[in-house]
Assembly symmetry: C2
Homo-oligomer: 137 residues x 2
DNA sequence: TACAAATTTGTAATCGTTACAAAGTAGTAT
DNA sequence: ATACTACTTTGTAACGATTACAAATTTGTA
């Protein structure tokens, strides 16, 4: 908790209750949730929470570099709180998202063919280990 | 033109006029267009073309492996007709999408930590060469 | 010519996200 | 304390890409 407040202050974000709870959720649940999932999860505890607040907060956090937004071939954005660069694997059967290749070399801040890279996302899609084992035939 | 018909037949897709025109557009314009862009471009020539047809066609093409769909952090899907694996770089200033690192080693069909990879997408974001040169200060 | 299957079309609905303005909260100077 | 300002939160309405659906059209074939 104290930790979260420090993180927000370091990024010049006022540590309001809503912001603390949202970041806390993303620290605790590494499920790459959507804005709506976060809203649903917190709505019980914070009955007056607005979905707009969740969207605003996630936008602020992403802009300030607290969170990373993921674009994984869905019509929705997913978010994660992470420190080390890694790759995402999405199973097309069960829909689960896995963090893989933790040692992945990131091109962030490098220059590729004259372009300055600020973000580097690698998205794999396929059948996950779990679903491969379950194959019925 | 003949070429396009062959491509569709090989994939078991009936080469209707709409489908031919849509694939032709993607062969000619390597701009990673959205469904709407394709629709707008073809609407003059085909006044009764329906946007639903464009969506249906792009879905069919993607499922049959004629096209590749791109998820580049926008609330819209982009499409490309391509043969060699490559990486996409999207400029956050001008919005242009570049194909880079044509020699990129693809993990397609490989096994990563037990998961079977079917698609491998690499998305870079940053400031493109063009916009870097234009910096005013 | 007739019939069945595939394709196209237009409209309405869905759903994630954003715009906007009002209401609430906090900090600061008087 | 009070008033003023800036920031944050909230709820509703709007937006825009995409999909559902059923009718209309086209195609292939008996």
């Amino acid at each position: 908790m104290k930790n979260i407040i420090e993180i927000l202050k370091e990024k010049d974000i006022a540590p309001s209750m809503q912001r603390i709870k949202i970041l806390e959720y993303l620290q605790n649940y590494k499920t790459h949730p959507t804005a709506d999932m976060i809203y649903q999860a917190l709505a019980d505890e914070m009955p007056t929470l607005s979905k707009t607040t969740v969207y605003n907060t996630l936008k602020t956090f992403t802009e300030k570099g607290v969170l990373v937004a993921l674009s994984l071939f869905e019509n929705e954005v997913r978010y994660e709180y992470t420190k080390e660069p890694h790759i995402h694997f999405k199973c097309t059967k069960c829909g689960r998202i896995y963090d893989v290749l933790k040692t992945f070399k990131c091109l962030k801040n490098e220059n590729i063919e004259g372009h300055q890279v600020i973000e580097h996302h690698v998205n794999l899609r396929g059948i996950c280990k779990n679903c491969l084992e379950k194959v019925e035939d």
